[in-house]
Amino acid sequence: MNKIINDIRETARQLLAEGKVDVVIGYEKGSLPLKATPCFVHSSEGVDSLIWDETCENNLATYVAKTPGKKAIVAKGCDSRALAVLLQENQIVRDDLYIIGVSCHGVIDQRKIGAEVGEILEASISDGKISVKGMEGDKEYLFTEVKDATCQTCRYPNPVMEDLHIGDTIEVSQEAAAFADVEALESKSDSERQEYFKEQMSKCIRCYACRNACPLCYCQECFVDCNSPRWLTGGVNRAENLLFQAGRVMHLAGRCVDCGACSRACPQGVDIRALNRKMTKDVYVMYNHESGISEEGKPALNEYSANDPEQFLVKE
């Protein structure tokens, strides 16, 4: 039992016992190995199911607006950034929210492990080592080897806002954001990129898991469910899939906090982040804006400046 889990449980117990919050949103052990699942604790008896480790991959900010009453939330860096955007957009009330901040070293990319050992049957984590028993063999990994792609470039492992911090904070370099993954794609030719995205879009089955996992996809009626106008005809082919993915990414432009929840939720392994990261980069480069790094401010597309770049115009 590590100290962070203990502190989270103690805090949750206190908050619930004192009646400061009605519910604590955190993680509990999931039914599958290496998988934590979101958990809603309503009374102090339930706090012992709360956990904290490298499998806590969901972005809990997704559930805040949907959960009635006063709530406490266990928040990693990206969760807190999503909360900040939700606050900027008046989707949640700060006074109803108690943020238990935890610094995050990153989460495990299960797909990477699953690709090597087959379906994961058993797994245990200790001291940065993960031993996995899979259908097609056993293997031991260092955590750094199987860290999720999002977490490898994470610049905000510490919550950007919190009411209480649990555990240590993590030192991060204050260098400008790096977009090596986007640049690698950009350096390819149009047709190569087209091939890449054709392949990615062919994989998508439009289950909308990405949308549901996303903390910032909160529209009452998503454009894909809209009957009038019918943006999507209902067929699943890669052109329609692109319309969905590109539409969603445009909705997230200047808001996406790059938590990677969409990619991790995707059952088909579609490279959704390739699109989101491109928009994040453009917004960063063109408008010098990073989403959700403070409660104040507005999403990039809600603002403008008279000197915004105009390279996209036709020459005439």
Binding site: Q194, W231, N237, L243, A246, A300, Y304, P309, L313
Partner: protein, 155 residues
Amino acid sequence: MGEIQVETENKKYEPKIAAFLCNWCSYAGADLAGVGRIQYPATIRTIRVPCSGRINPLYVLKAMANGADGVLVSGCHPGDCHYISGNYVARRKFALIKSLLNHVGLEEDRISFSWVSAAEGGRFAEVVKGVTERVSALGPNNGIFKVVDGGAADE
């Protein structure tokens, strides 16, 4: 019947371009081009919108998905918006749509943005000519938005 067939075969490829024009400037600019009898290619299908800020990125995506060969979006010059800031807000969206679609492999010239005022009838014609030329050079929209057999695993 046969003659008609021959005619269509010889006909030069004419792209279909969806043109989203803002009511206050570009639509009036197009009107001025018409009133002034300035010739420009009949390739655009005009869709009048109240303001360039009214243009949902999905309009552009949907137009491409529905088989347009190109999209032209035009509004008032920055600073001249009838609604003060509509085109300023739109400008950021436009830059991102263009960049995103180019990133997924749509040819850069398929989607064009321009500012045309109500007084620029001649320029409107020039813009349409330019856009038509570039889209014609690219040919039909058979790239990322086109699926031949409608199946998911068509590659």
